[in-house]
Every structure is written in C-alpha cells, then in structure tokens.
C-alpha cells in the first residue's frame, strides 16, 4: 500500500478520526490535489451543516395530506383513463377517489394542509412543501432504494454516506450517519449502506432498546476494569509499534480504542433522556422512560444533531404495518398520529435552540398514492410515483412556501417537477456540496449520488 492509499483508507475512517486525519493530511498535500472533495471541506457556501431526514415508509398519500385537490373531491366517482396501473401498461379506466381529510389554510402563509397533520401544519410557515415530487418506480423496494441512494435498481451508497464522505463529522465520539429505525425498511440495510464508499460512512442503525448500537454496552464488570484492560492493550500495542517504527495504520487502530471508549460513554448519554425537561417530554408527546414511537426518535434525533452528527435519518415504520394503504386509507390516521406531534415538536425545538437555521429537516416518503382506484368503492389507494409531496424546513430553505404542483386530480406533475435526483442535488447544495463533483471512482467509473441527473431547485432557497 502506498502512502496515498494508506491516507485514503484513513480518510475513509476519518469521520471518526478527524484529529489524526488532519494531522496526516497536513503532511501530505497530494491528496487534496487529486481529490478536491477530501472530507471535511464543503466546496460551496454551506447553508446547513446537518440533515435530519424524516422518512415515512410505505408511500404517504399526497392528496390526503399536503396536496389539496378540490377538483378531485368534486369529481370523485367519475372515471379517468390512465395508461399504466401498478406497473402494468395499457389503458385502464379508473374511478377518482375523494380525499378523506379536510384541508384548511394554515399559518400566516395560508398553505393548505389536511387534518391528518394538524400540529405539523401549524409549523407550515417554516416549511417549503414540494407538491411536484417524482420518482422512477412503482414498487416499494426500488422506490425506497432510489429515494435513499439515487439508484432504483443497484445498491449504491446512501445519501447519508455521501454526505458523511463529503463532510465528515463534528464529533469524533459518534458516527457521522445515524439511522433511527425500529424496523427494517424495504430494501433492508442497503438503505443506509455505504456500498463502495468506505465502510466508515455506512449509516449506523440505532434500534430502540437496551443495546441501540452493536457492542455499545460495556461487558466488563466495571468501567475501572475496562480501563485497566484497555491500558494493558495500549501498552502491548505501544511495544509492538515501537519495534516497527512509524506506521499510520497501527497508530490509527490504537487511537480507535480511545474513540470507542468515548463512544461507549457518549452513545448511552445520547439515549439517556433523563436530562430533558418535563415540558420537552410533553411537547414531543413522549412518556418518560418510553423508547417506542416516533416521539422517541425525534427527541433522540435532536440530541444527535446537537452533538454534531451530520446525517440523522428517522424511519417511522418498517416494511410492514406502514403507510401502504391498499386496503383502507383510514390506516393513515394512526400512522399520522404517531409522527405529527413529534415532528412539530422537533421543528419547534430546533427553532427554539437556534438550530433550525443550519439544520435541514427533510420529510419524505417513497411515493404517493393513486388519486383513483379500480373499483368505485375501493377503500384504499395504490402506489403512485408520478407525483407526490415532500417538504423541507430550515437549513437555507425558504419557509412558508409551496413549490411545484400536480394536476387537477393529483395524477401527474403539472409544474416545476422535482425528481428524486433534484431533491438530492438540492440537499447536497444546501450542505455546500456540488452534486456533480461529489464523486467516487469505482470499477473504472466515477459515481455520483445523482448519477447523470439532478438539478438544484434554487427557487426554494432562502
């Protein structure tokens, strides 16, 4: 291994070893010349320094939540002809189905939001609601993979991994990319995988419970004993290295035990909510001591953001029991109730702490749901990737606005399409990263989060 390779390998782990990395980088100027995006240095003017992504699993109906379609309500029961249904091509006559929740103007801006999200809707002056999202695939697996990695077929690095690679972390005791996911989502661990990017950029999945991260719980009888043991190990390693001269890899590995010890201390602190006030618990709607539900995820997300984690993703449910309301739209109600209050609380909490300015909050799902169905009395809606809604808040995004529009019935994008790739490009842009330059060479080719696509939606930036 050459020094260059060695440094790259360290850079790979750098999100967790910033001190060591900068020291090594200082000695070697070649690496930056070769790679203008060496970790830690955004190449644009960053508006956000971290991201909290709220991911709703299963496909949230846009016409029942963020995208009021009065004509759809009026014409419910009438038929429309579509040329594709559930992935099958052909001409299909479909019955329009009325949204089941009332839309009302909210906030000062008056953006219409349905009664499914009353509390989040109250924060609408901070949100930029995008009503012209578009994805490539009608299937959960592919659409979920696409929303996370920009690739709808092959596993590729997750957005959080790209951002970790681009920016590193601000806290050496915590991973740079953390996913709070009580259940496994569609497409499994690929959703937060680093794929060909170095493993350090892989999302660390946190599962509520006694051991949120693998091996984070001390197994030694006491901290004192563990320190004694780590001391013995450190002396062994020092003797070993002394006989071998400088070797950055040996050094890095010695260092990693110190960091791990720090992590072992700090991670449980993140999850120990005992220093939160009663009013905080109340605002999130969290029972003290409980680790279940989105409220816990939101509060922990705020704590992680405070501690410098670059990318925190919250996945509300997994690959079952989610927003996939084929059978009955009413199943949206409990899922919305699970996320509504904590989402609003998170936004307010960040704002109150002055963190919303440089924290980008992204709320999305893999696709919307059909405004129509095959039978007039069908109680549910099917998958719909032609248009759906997402929103962003904070971190350089203009609040109190909507962007883009679907057509009268919410079937297709009518104006200002924001493809998944465009959403990714915009998120990277807000972090000061150029999506056309954040690249990694793999099997003879340069790869990007946005592949050959992506347009930064400048119109929604503040």
């Amino acid at each position: 291994m050459t020094r260059g390779q060695c440094l790259r390998s360290l850079a790979a782990g750098s999100s967790l070893l910033p001190g060591l990395l900068s020291e090594l980088l200082g000695e070697d100027s070649g690496i930056r010349e070769r790679n203008p995006l060496s970790p830690g240095i955004p190449d644009g003017r960053p508006r956000a320094s971290r991201v909290i992504m709220l991911y709703m699993s299963g496909g949230v109906s846009h016409v029942d939540t963020w995208d009021p379609r009065p004509k759809l309500m009026r014409d419910a029961g009438k038929t429309v002809t579509v040329n594709e249904f559930q992935g099958r091509k052909g001409s299909f006559s479909m019955y329009l189905k009325s949204p089941q929740w009332t839309f009302r103007p909210r906030g000062k801006c008056g953006t219409q939001v349905s009664d499914l999200f009353p509390r989040t809707a109250a924060c609408v002056d901070d949100l930029c609601v995008i009503r012209s999202m578009k994805s490539n695939h009608t299937n959960h697996y592919e659409a979920t993979l696409g929303m996370h990695t920009g690739s709808f077929t092959f596993a590729r690095p997750s957005m959080g991994s790209w951002i970790s690679y681009g920016l590193g972390t601000l806290n050496r005791n915590l991973p740079s990319f953390i996913v709070l996911a009580p259940q496994t989502p569609y497409a499994g661990g690929q959703v937060w995988g680093s794929d060909f990017l170095p493993g350090a950029h892989q999302g660390t999945r946190v599962v509520p419970g006694t051991e949120p991260v693998a091996n984070i719980q001390r197994r030694s009888a006491s901290e004192e004993l563990q320190l004694l043991e780590l001391g013995l190990l450190a002396r062994m390693n020092q003797r070993h290295r002394a006989a071998r001269g400088d070797d950055a890899l040996l050094e890095a590995r010695m260092q990693s035990f110190e960091t791990a010890f720090g992590m072992q201390k700090e991670m449980p602190e993140v999850f120990d909510l005992s220093d939160e006030t009663e009013s905080t618990f109340r605002s999130y709607g969290l029972q003290p001591g409980s680790t279940s539900g989105f409220a816990w995820q939101c509060l922990v997300a705020r704590r992680l953001a405070e501690r410098g984690v670059r990318f925190v993703e919250l996945i509300d449910t997994g690959s079952s029991g989610n927003w996939d309301a084929h059978g009955d739209m009413q199943t949206h109600a409990p899922l919305a109730a699970n996320v509504d209050q904590p989402t609003a609380a998170l936004l307010q909490d960040l704002k109150q702490r002055g963190m919303l300015e440089d924290t980008l909050v992204v709320w999305t799902t893999e696709f919307g749901r059909t405004p129509f169905n095959a039978a007039p009395q069908a109680a549910g809606r099917e998958h719909h990737h032609w248009v759906f809604s997402s929103w962003m808040a904070g971190g350089g995004v203009r609040g109190g606005m909507t962007w883009g529009a679907s057509d009268d019935y919410g079937i297709e994008v009518a104006a200002d399409e924001v493809h998944v790739h465009d959403l990714h490009a915009t998120i990277l842009h807000l972090l000061g990263l150029d999506h056309t330059r954040l690249m990694w060479r793999n099997s003879g080719r340069d790869f990007r989060l946005t592949d050959v696509h992506g347009r930064v939606v400048h119109e929604i930036l503040s």
Partner: protein, 1235 residues
C-alpha cells in the same frame, strides 16, 4: 437558387477530393480528431455529463446534436455548429468556454477538413486511447534481466532488483523465520501457525526447510478455504438472490465448495475458467466422474444477481450483472459500461455488449424464487441425463401419488407440489400467469412471435408424459403468421442413436378448403435440416425433404398426441399419431444427416396472411428413452378401505355430538371439532356431567361456563343434518343454570345457517327463564329452575319452518311452538351457545352437557340407556377412533415422505446453468429492453481477439466464450489472474487496479515482470500452486515487510491487518474453538415453506464455529461481522478488500460475546495446560503471537492480573483476570497484523 447552392457545395467537395482521401482515413480521425474530442470536449460532452444535451463520443451523436440542433452537418463546415463554436464565432457559445483553451489554428483546420470530407467516424470501434493500450497487446516474451547479485533467488528477483536499482534503492534484508512462518501461514491458509509449526521450522536445518513448509501448507485443506475465498470475492459470491425479498439460494454452497476444492486440487486455471462458464456443456459432452462438479461450476454465472419484485421481468439486469462480472473477473474490463452506449474509454461497443448478451440470453439461468413466484425451479440435475430422466419420472410419480393419497385423506398438500414439480422445459406450466405474472406469454427458454398465449384451456388430457398440469399454449384462430420455438434439451443421453419426441395438440375450430394451417418442425441446428408435420384441413402430413406422406387425420376439438421416433443412424423417422385408443404409424426420412434434432419450431404453415384455425399445444418432450403407452390416467392406487370422512361420519352417528366432548381431555378448554369463542373460559369438568341418561347413558364430564359479562361461547359445525324423511330433526341438550349473583343477562342458543347471521331458531335464557326469538321480539316461553339439571328438547320441522320445544326437568314445562325466523334460508350447519343473549349484563354460570342432533325422536328423560348398550357403543367408538387415528397416522407418514422428497428432490441439484434456446439479440437502446435496435450476432470483444466470425458458435456460445477467454492469444486473462495472485501475496498488484486493465486503469509497475509471470503461468499449465511456490521462494517476498504507511513504491510485502475472515478464524483457532470440518448447506427453511416478500424479506443469518468462508452471506443486508471488518461486497466484484479502521471495530474487541467467549474458552484450556500464571501467559503468547513474552511484558501482565483481581467486584477473580489478558492479546495489533 437551392440547386445552385447544391452544385457549389458539390464542386467544393470535388475540389477537396484529393485532400479528402487522407482526411477520410481512420488514421486522420484517430490522430487529429478523436484526441481533441476526447481530451477537450469530452469533459463536458461525454461520460455522465452531457452539457446542452450534446455528446461527442460517437459520429451519430454529433450528427444528431444536442439542444441547439445538429453539431455537425457532414460536408458543411460553415453550417456546422461545432466548427462555429470552436472557431468562437460571435453568434454561438464559444467552445471550449475558457479562452485560454481555444483550439489551435491547425486543429481548427483539421476539423474543417474532416467535416467537409463527410465527418467520417470509423466503423471499427476503437477507444480514444486504446489502440496502443498496453493491456491489449499480446503478452510479450520478457527477457529476465541478467543479475549476478547473490540476493536474487528467482527470476522475479532479477526483475525487482532492476526496478530497485533504477530507483536508487537496495533490497531489504530477509525476514526472520518467525515472521516468515506467520506471513506464509496466513497468506496460504488464513490461519495462524501453531507453536509446534514454528518449532519444526526453526529446528529444520535443511536448506529446503522453507519449501517444505510451503508444500505442507499448500497441501492443507485450509489453503483452498483461503484462496477460494479470494476467488469468491471476485465473483461476488452470495447465499441469497438479491431481489426485493432476497430469496435464499440453498444450493449455492455447492459452488462455494467447488471453488475451494478446485484450489485444493490445483485445478489448472484454464479448466477452472472453462468449467465456470460452460461446465454444464462440457459435462453433457462427456458425462463422466466429474459430471456433478462441472455442472456445479456454472454456479458462478447462476449466482448473478436478481432484481425486482418479479425478477424474470428484470432478467436483462441479471444478464448485465453476468457480463459485468465476466468482464471484471477474467479480463479486467468494465464491459458493463457498454450496456447503454459505447464504452467511453475502452474499445468495447454497445454492439459487442449485446453480442455477449446473446450468449447469456441463449443460456438458461436457474430461478431462485421471487416475491411474485415464490418457488425455486430450473435447478440443474447433478446426475447425467440418462439417469435423470428415469429418476425424475419416478420422483414425479411418487410425489403425485403421495399428493393424491393425502388429498384423499383430507390432508392439505404442500402447495409446492402443485406448482413447482411440472418443471421440465417442454411443458408450459412455468410459462403460465398462474405460475406468476408472465402475462400469459411464453418465457425463456421459449421464444415467440405473433399472438400466442399460455392458457388453462390448452391443457392436454394425456398424462403419460407429464402428470395433469394446468396450462398449455394457445394460438387463437386468425390470419397472421405466428411462431414459437425452443432449443430442445434431450432428456437423456445426448449421443443416443434413437430419440423420441412427443407433443399433444388440438385444432380448435373448423376449416374450409381455402384456409391455412399449422406446422410442427423438428430441426437439427447443426445441419439446418429437419422434418415437418403439417396440420391443415383435417389432415396431418409428414414432410421430410421432398417427400410428403399422410400421417393421419384430426377432428376439430379432439386432443391427439403426435410422436416422432428418430433413428439417427438410419436417418429414419417414424411418426405415430392418435390417442389412447390407437395410434396410426407412418414413416419418413430424417434429413438430419446424423445430427440429433435439437430445435423445435411451432408455427403457421406459411408466411401468408390467411385464415387459420385456433390451435392448442401441450406436453412437449424430447427424450432418449421410449415414450410410454398413451394414457389419460396417471396410475395412482388410492388406499383401499374406509376414508377418514366415512369413519368420522360413522363415529358421529354412533356417539352423537356429546361423544366428542367425552373424548376430550378433562379440565381443559375445548378442542376441535368443538370451538370455543375468542378468549373463552369454557372448560370441561366432571362436576358438569348431567345425570340424565336418556340419550347417551352415563358419561364422565360436561361443560362449565362461569358467570360472565365478557363475550364467551362455544359451539360446533354440524355436518350432514340427520333429518328424517319428513325433514324433521331432533335436537337436545342438558343445562343447569346457577343463580345469578346480580343482574339478569341472558345467553343465546342458536341453530341455523352460518355462525350467527341466519338463525332458524334462537332461544335465549337467563338463570330462570327461556325466551324464544320471534320475528318481532322475544317471548318468554318456559321457566328454568336454578341449580337443577333440565333438558331442552327441540323438534325442528325444516320443511314447514316450524318447531316445538319443551324443557324437561324435575317438572316438565309445557311444550311451546314457534315459527322459524323469517330471515332463515333453510340451511342448518351451525349450533352454539354464546353470550349474545337479548338481555345485557352479567350472565349466569352454566353447566351444559349431552348435545344431540338426530333424526330419531329424543326419548323421555326418565328413559335410561342400558349400561350394556353404553359399553357396546363405547367399544365401537373406540374402534372407529383407532381406525381414524391409524389413517391419520398414515397421512402423517405420507406427508413426511412427501416433504422429505420435496426437500431432497429427485436427485441432487445445483444452482447452475443449462443451455437455453440459441439466438441472437437486438441491441437495447440506452439499455432499455423495450427499445430494441439492430440484431447483433453472438460473439466476443474484438479488441481482445474476439472475432466471432472466425469461431463457430454452438448452442449458446458459452463454451466458445470460455475457450476465447483462455486462448493463448487472449492478452488479458493470464495477466489479470497472475496480477491477482501477486496482489494477494504482496498487498497490492503490479497493476493497482486489479479489476480494471482498461485505459482508465493504472499501468503495471513492471510490465515485463507481469508478462513474465503471465507467460510462465500459462507455460506451467495454469497452475496456481506453481506460481505460489515461485513467488514465495523469491527474495523479494521474503524481505522484511514494509510499514503500511511507508512512502515507497519499492516492491515487497506490506504489513496488513488480517481480513474479516482471518480475524474470526484466528480468534476461534487460538481459543481452541474452531471447527475445521468443511461447511455444507445452510439450514435454510424448506423451499415449499417459502413466502418471503419485500414486506418480509428473508433475513436470517446462521452462525457456526466453522471457518468464516462457510458463513452465510446475504445480499440485502450485509453479514454483521463481515460488514464490520470490510468483508466482501456480495453485490459487486470485490477486487481488493477495503481496510478501514473505525471505533465500532474496537467496540467489537471490547464487548462482543465472540471475543469474551473465546477468552473464556482459551483460559480454561490454559489453566488445564499449566498451573502457574506465568506459564499460562507464556503459553498464551506462544499460541497467539508465536513468541514468548519479553520479561517486561510478562511482568506487566502479571501486575495487571493482580490489579485486575484487586479491582474485581467479587466472584471468580483469578479466572477473570486471565481472560482480560487474553482479550487484550486477541485485540492487539500484533495478533491482528501480519508483518
């Protein structure tokens, strides 16, 4: 005016003709034009970036242009935007944008001339810089540099020394024996050496001591486990399929073990390559001892990743994965890049990509199951065909028999039997939409054109070839020509002298004289000759060559079977046509010229658009064993004697409903056929036995329902209602209500259709009264005595929809009459008591017993069934019960046999390839299968000597592809593999991009050394072990190692951290826990139980204590341990393991149970082996690090143990302190790195 302009241009072209000769040449383009396009324009108009929608990497792209229109107009420089842009004319965006990069005057002139001369873009595909690229040059004859330096031990050293000297460097000294042994053992086996290994080596004064160790290690099975793993990395081995539900591949392990065995046997690499690409073809060509291994080897291709919800719909991506893998693995080329457009850098065109695609599309991949089609099929038998065909038929027969017997015994048959067994290629079961959403069109290996579909109506009634299926092929009546064809695999020995073909057909509708017909053609793809059977106007004609003879007639709507018996030696064909009642025979000539028929074409009789009748086709087979008698029966002998149903009905008649209660376990909840309601507290108990004996005689238990306000209830389904001839049925049950403690809620007694909605009679009762439900409300009809046993008797006249009822007890109640409820539909199949009484509140506790439903009147309550009768009846009931139990026991046995048959299959199978229907494919424009372009012939990559026209392809062409890869003139294959071996020994390859030898890859550090190794490797019979010996013997390998981070390109081993597998194996090995037996199959659930989906994907990881190469490696989620320590990517080729250092790895050593358990197990062994701590520590150091601890280290450890014990909060302190030292050893850099 326009004409004049045209003439002017024409004249201009004529004037330039002389110059244009030159300008039109390929050389001009390659030297003057392409470098500019590639070097300057490409940055923004090629690759992923296409500014302004313009690409500059093909002539067509320039002619088509971008958003501003065509970039060039051939012959018109002035009108060409491109030229105006590079000339920086005012009205267009200047290119390149930066002024200081403007093209030179000469370059502008070149472009002007080139466009004027027609902008010739050479047909031959050549990469921008590839023509002279080193890797495409033949492997040179390297001259070993002369060297008299005593340092050199091998030719390798001479090359290395020259490099060192040129760089002004000197070699380093030889590493010591301990370092060498550790390095060597890890390199060759992935395991730590033992102290004994070191003692032997150090004591051996023989100059060949080192070579002896090498030989010992190369002979160890651990060698294959280590080097097999390297190969598995490159070929992205995984144990799951990777589609949305990540279906398990239970047979993948056979390929894994094949690879391990191949390395252990030192299989020549060329053979290894041939077998992995075409082992199934080789096996068929000469079935021999290695039949199974050769077939298994193609697991390499079979393992290609699957995609999507219905992975057959994404088969083009699976083939892409194959091509990508073949390119990177064997050639070090990213061929996959040419899927959507010609390769940007390397000389690989999209056409060549699809010429390879055709090869794999002509091959058949096994199907692992997917969310849409939840079963495995098309696995490849590991027995030769002759054996397979008989074993398969026996298997199908047995499973069909078992299924039918089970069905007769009223046992559910595993769904897999119904769906997955009808798997031979000839039948249409796989093609059907019911087999999973192929939209009713035939899928691989069938090819088709025109309107054809797979339907349920086209199922043939004949069962002598295949058991009853569900689908066949339908051609609707119509006028358009159609065609369905398939390369047929012979079920049986490939070189048999006789073959039998069979197909069933039915002409669906009538014909008139002027209408067309259909054709069944068998052809030899080698000779192109064949035999035709024409179905037209009621006649069946056999046509061979010029001769035509009538083979028989068909009647509209009648199924016939057509058999052709081929005598390949005599070139004769015998045709038989008919059904089970008789077959007409005719004879013809087989024009195959000694070749076997291997292509079936079903089609219209001509290409004319003319009305043709509809046609159904089913049950296609070509086999080397004779066909059986034509039959519509699948001869299954059903078990003689009584059925479970019959016996159960007898038992029910004998014992009545109550008999079942008596048979149930005492003091327990109710079991089937009785049902208790959800959350029921109903219980059987002796105290609830009714004293009344007018129906059943003395019993031993009854039902108890405690006082209840929540829902409760119990009841059962009544089978055949035992009504008398007048439709009158008698029902009764005994009841004892307890006094209610408060309130007066009521229970409901229901008789009617279904569990609640359609009552015939409903009686409601409290602890003191019975109420009848009427059309208008509830009427109090009888009194009940609390604490007394009473019998409610009901006589129901089902025809007249009336009933009468009385409560018989100490006091006989007056009989009351009622009408059946108006909503009742006349059906009675349910009876129960539940808490949906008409009065809310707490319902009284009840004892209930002696339910009866019969056609005979119920005797008075003073009647007593004689004890003798009771005894006889009990005896008879016991006998029936035993019979039923025996039958059910038999069903259990049958089910177990069926499950075991389904689990093992007819013979061992592999997840491997077989031949499909040979054909060429059309280019998929931009990689989209629904945008077909031109058809391209199957072939290879021309820049690497793959000129397909010079090689005759047979079948899919996979065998020729393999031969091309290992052809002595192929410049890449040998270079790529020796580079990998070098890389695995030294830490990096001579080419630092082991999967990319293309233009964008890095150049070899020493091209002559690389070629020397490649040439020698081939010369030495492609032997890995020989190459290892050469490298390991070299002075350069035996030097002291480099620090991992040293700034030096000097050849030599660099210090490396152990790989994930080495870490786990070493921990298990030194702690004495490693199970050295080879891993076999993983304990996956049986395929017939599968139902994985994207909502619930397969996600189990199986653990064991064997070597890590045998760990289950999933695709959708990474194996938790392997993922943590940079294990291989299971989705793409891993040429070089990443080596990250992250704190989560440190956490593993601090807290993972594996480490703690290993330290505990190890300490037990040490304590047994030595009595003193210092002795134990010495032993531990020797086992882990192959050396004794220094005095300082020893005293440090001893002190540590003392401190640890003092700080330990109690318990087994001494033991724990040793474990802590051992954990530190396991986590130490010295243990985890190789110098």
């Amino acid at each position: 005016m326009r004409n004049l302009l045209f003439i002017l241009i024409f004249l201009q072209i004529l004037q330039c003709r002389t110059a244009a000769q030159d300008v039109r040449s390929e050389v001009f383009f390659e030297n003057r034009i392409r470098p500019v396009l590639a070097g300057i324009c490409f940055r923004c108009h090629g690759g992923e970036r296409v500014s302004g929608g313009l690409r500059v990497d093909s002539g067509d792209a320039l002619l088509e242009g971008g958003e501003s229109g065509p970039a060039i107009i051939a012959g018109d420089p002035a009108g060409s935007l491109l030229l105006r842009a590079i000339e920086r004319q005012a009205d267009v965006s200047a290119m390149p944008p930066a002024v200081d990069q403007s093209l030179s005057a000469q370059q502008l002139e070149d472009f002007r001339s080139w466009i004027l001369a027609g902008a010739v873009w050479p047909e031959r595909v050549a990469g921008f810089e590839s023509a002279k690229h080193w890797a495409f040059q033949p492997i040179g004859r390297s001259v070993v540099p002369a060297s008299d330096d005593g340092w050199c031990r091998t030719d390798i050293d001479a090359f290395v020394l020259r490099t060192l000297r040129n760089a002004g460097l000197e070699p380093r000294e030889q590493a010591d024996r301990r370092t060498l042994l550790r390095r060597l053992t890890f390199d060759l086996t992935g395991l730590p050496p033992t102290p004994d290994d070191l003692d032997t080596f150090e004591r051996d004064a023989d100059p060949a001591a080192f070579e002896k160790v090498v030989d010992r290690l190369l002979a160890s099975p651990a060698y294959g486990e280590k080097w097999g793993r390297h190969w598995l990395d490159v070929v992205r081995y995984a144990d799951t399929a990777g589609e949305t539900a990540d279906y398990p591949l239970p047979e993948a392990w056979r390929y894994r073990n094949y690879v391990i065995d191949a390395f252990n046997q030192d299989m020549p690499f060329d053979r290894f390559v041939r077998e992995q690409l075409a082992g199934d073809i080789l096996a068929m060509q000469s079935p021999g001892e290695r039949f199974a291994e050769q077939v298994t080897a193609t697991g390499y291709l079979a393992l290609s990743r699957r995609f999507g919800f219905d992975s057959e719909n994404y088969h083009h991506l699976t083939i892409h994965d194959t091509i990508d893998s073949v390119g990177q693995t064997f050639l070090g080329l990213s061929i996959g890049c040419a899927r959507c457009h010609d390769h940007k850098f390397d000389p690989i065109s999209t056409a060549e990509y699809y010429s390879l695609y055709g090869i794999f599309d002509s091959s058949r991949y096994p199907f692992p199951g997917s969310e849409q089609k939840q079963r495995v099929r098309s696995l490849t038998p590991l027995v030769p065909p002759q054996q397979a065909v008989t074993e398969w038929r026996a298997f199908v027969r047995r499973t069909a028999d078992l299924s039918r017997e089970l069905a007769a015994l009223k046992r559910p048959v595993p769904a897999a039997v119904l769906r997955s067994l009808l798997d031979p290629d000839g039948d249409f079961e796989l093609q059907a939409p019911a087999a999973g959403g192929s939209y009713g069109v035939p899928v691989s290996p069938w090819l088709y054109s025109g309107v054809v579909s797979v339907t349920g109506e086209a199922q043939s009634p004949f069962q002598h070839v295949y058991p009853q299926g569900r689908h066949g092929l339908t051609v609707p009546s119509g006028a358009e020509p159609w065609r369905v064809w398939q390369g047929l695999k012979t079920a049986g020995e490939g070189r048999a002298s006789k073959l039998w073909f069979s197909v069933d057909f039915r002409v669906r509708d009538g014909v008139s004289a002027e209408q067309g017909g259909h054709r069944i053609r068998l052809e030899s793809s080698v000779s192109g000759q064949g035999v035709d059977v024409l179905l037209s106007q009621g006649r069946v004609l056999l046509q061979s060559g010029e001769k035509s003879s009538q083979a028989g007639e068909y009647r509209v709507g009648e199924w016939l079977t057509l058999q052709l018996e081929f005598d390949l030696q005599a070139d004769q064909v015998v045709c038989r046509l008919g059904n089970e009642q008789g077959m007409l025979q005719s004879e013809g000539r087989w024009a195959g010229q000694g070749c076997a028929p291997d292509l079936l074409i079903l089609c219209a009789d001509s290409e004319r658009s003319i009305a043709r009748p509809g046609l159904d086709i089913d049950n296609v087979v070509l086999q080397s064993v004779p066909l059986g008698e034509v039959s519509r029966e699948w001869s299954v002998l059903l078990p003689a004697g009584e059925s479970v149903d019959g016996l159960a009905a007898q038992l029910r008649r004998l014992t009545g409903l109550d008999g079942d209660l008596e048979q149930q376990a005492m003091k327990s909840a109710l079991t089937a056929p009785w049902n208790a309601g959800p959350g029921s507290v109903v219980k059987l108990r002796p105290e609830s036995q009714s004293p009344l004996q007018n129906v059943y005689g003395a019993g031993r238990q009854g039902l108890y329902l405690p006082e209840r306000s929540q829902y409760d209830g119990f009841g059962l389904t009544i089978g055949d209602l035992p009504a008398d001839s007048a439709g009158v049925v008698h029902l009764a049950f005994d009841i004892r209500p307890y006094a209610a403690s408060e309130g007066c809620g009521s229970w409901r007694y229901y008789v009617g259709h279904g569990p609640g909605p359609l009552p015939a009679v409903e009686l409601h009762f409290t602890d003191r009264a019975v109420f009848a439900k009427t059309a208008t409300g509830y009427v109090r009809v009888a009194e009940l005595s609390r604490g007394e046993w009473q019998q409610i008797q009901l006589v129901l006249d089902t025809r007249n929809r009336r009933y009468r009822c009385l409560v018989a007890g100490a006091v006989l109640s007056p009989e009351f009459h009622g009408e059946c409820l108006p909503a009742w539909d006349g059906v009675i199949d349910y009876s129960f008591i539940d808490s949906y009484g008409h009065l809310p509140g707490l319902r009284p506790a009840l004892d209930v017993d002696n339910f009866v439903v019969q056609s005979a009147p119920i005797p008075g309550t003073d009647h007593r069934v004689s004890p003798a009768d009771v005894l006889v009846r009990h005896g008879e009931a016991a006998r029936l019960r035993q019979q039923i139990a025996e039958l059910q026991g038999r069903a259990d046995v049958l089910l177990r046999e069926l499950q075991s048959l389904l689990a093992t299959g007819p013979y061992p199978m592999a997840y491997a390839m077989s031949e499909g229907t040979a054909h060429d494919v059309r280019i998929q424009q931009r990689g989209e299968p629904d945008q077909p372009g031109e058809t391209v012939a199957r072939g290879f990559v021309k820049a690497v000597g793959g000129d397909a026209t010079e090689r005759e392809l047979t079948g899919s062409g996979r065998l020729q592809l393999a031969e091309w890869l290992v052809h002595p003139e192929n410049p890449l294959t040998a270079r790529v593999i020796v580079n990998r071996v070098w890389q695995y020994h030294f830490g990096f390859g001579l080419v630092r991009t082991p999967n990319d030898f293309g233009v964008r890859g890095s150049a070899p550090a020493d091209p002559e050394l690389l070629d020397y190794l490649a040439a020698r490797f081939v010369r030495e019979g492609w032997s890995f072990k020989s190459l290892h010996r050469l490298i390991l013997r070299s002075a350069v390998w035996q030097q002291r190692g480099n620090a991992a981070g040293m700034v030096s390109d000097a050849p030599g081993v660099v210090r490396r951290r152990l790989s994930a597998e080495e870490i786990r194996d070493s921990i298990l090995a030194v702690s004495g826990q490693l199970d050295r037996s080879p891993g076999m199959a993983h304990p996956f659930p049986q395929p017939y139980e599968w139902g994985f989906s994207q909502h619930g994907p397969f996600s189990t990881v199986y653990d064991h204590r064997r070597r890590s190469v045998y760990l289950m490696t999933p695709r959708l989620r990474r194996h938790p341990f392997l993922g943590l320590f940079d294990g291989p990517d299971t989705n793409a080729s891993t040429a070089d393991r990443a080596r990250t250092t992250v704190p989560t790895q440190a956490l593993f050593f601090m807290n993972d149970p594996l480490v703690h358990e290993a330290a505990a197990a190890w300490s037990v062994r040490l304590e047994e082996a030595a009595h003193e701590d210092t002795e134990r520590l010495r032993l531990a150091w020797r086992q882990a690090l192959l050396r004794l601890p220094e005095a300082e280290e020893l005293s440090d450890a001893v002190d540590f143990m003392q401190d640890y014990e003092e700080s330990f909060p109690g318990g087994d302190r001494r033991h724990r302190s040793l474990e802590a030292v051992l954990r530190s050893l396991l986590g130490s850099n010295e243990f985890l790195h190789v110098d």
